[in-house]
């Protein structure tokens, strides 16, 4: 039921993106939101010790994604590409705030998440909270997860999860959805469009 709802949500999102994409193709290379909609707020704790709220980064462009520290392939790829994107943007990169919310609060303490993210870029902010708070954040952003035990190892598990990155503009509106696998060049391009065009 959960995965069906998740699938339906993903399909609706995809349809919206496709329509938006045709209208707005020349600006952003990834799926864009037209009209832009306000980024849902989250109520979590941040790896820098403060509350994690989207509104806190008003004035910056936010790259928001979900993942976990035990993830060997997808999450490090996304985080590495985001770190490269910040670097390639030069001075503009300072205004790109990466926010990474865990899908595995059981194992990802804020301390662990901070250390993990710091391996890619010390400016990255991680977020965690109670299972309920995290579920609300995922629901608001259409993120589906599914936990799977590792065969033959009773204590190990993976958390499969949606792996796209949202770009939220300086005014706090969701503007783009970057699919997993997008090139660093395209990431840089779309982040630059939002960094250079405030609204």
């Amino acid at each position: 039921m959960l995965s069906y709802r998740g699938l339906r949500r993903s399909l609706v999102l995809l349809a919206v993106l496709l329509c938006a994409g045709f209208a707005q193709g020349e600006e952003l290379r990834s799926g864009s939101f037209k009209p832009a909609r306000a980024a849902p707020e989250v109520g979590l704790r941040a790896t820098d010790g403060s509350d994690l709220q989207i509104a806190r980064y008003r004035g910056k462009v936010i790259a928001l994604s979900f993942g976990y520290t035990y993830c060997p392939d997808v999450c490090p790829t996304t985080l590495f590409n985001l770190a490269q994107t910040r670097e390639k943007l030069g001075a503009l990169g300072k205004d790109l705030q990466v926010v990474y919310i865990t899908v595995d609060p059981e194992r990802d303490s804020l301390e662990r998440l901070k250390k993990y993210l710091g391996g890619f870029d010390p400016t990255f902010i991680g977020g965690s909270g109670t299972p309920e708070q995290l579920a609300a954040a995922r629901k608001a952003y259409g993120i589906t997860i599914s936990r799977e035990n590792v065969p033959g190892n009773p204590t190990a598990y993976w958390v499969h999860h949606s792996a796209f990155v949202y770009l939220i503009d300086r005014a706090g509106n969701i503007r783009a959805l970057l699919p997993f696998g997008i090139t660093i060049d395209d990431m840089v391009h779309d982040a630059r469009v939002l960094l250079e065009n405030p609204s």
Binding site: G6, S10, P72, D73, V74, P76, T77, Y116, T144, S162
Partner: protein, 146 residues
Amino acid sequence: MTRRSSLRAFAWVALLVVAGGAAAADATIRIDGAWARRALMLDGSGTGAVYAALVNPGGAADALLAAESDIAKSVEVHETFQDQGMAKMRPVKRIDVPPGKTVELKPGGYHIMLIGLTRDLKPGETVQLTLVFQHAGKIPVTAQVK
């Protein structure tokens, strides 16, 4: 007599060289551009991934069956795939490398998964591992950390 025996020795050597060369050409898998993603060991519970191109220049099919390394407590061959809007992962028993083909292990696809890193993987360093093929056997690989 001396000349005949040296001729015979030469013939043997030639035969061995030719045979050895043929065997190598048949069985050899080449590993190109192996690299590992930077990662932290996180008190021994950190994970990592190694990627490479598996090149089969020969005329016979082969398959990657396993990978070994002391860089992690356990090393597995895995695949990332998309399902219901999620990026999922599953272990694979073998990765077929058909004759004359190259199979890429790359982010978001096939990868060698390092579970429980024994040290940080820092850019500029290297990681030693062994890839185990069905026919080519064990091939040592040095992966660059990026």
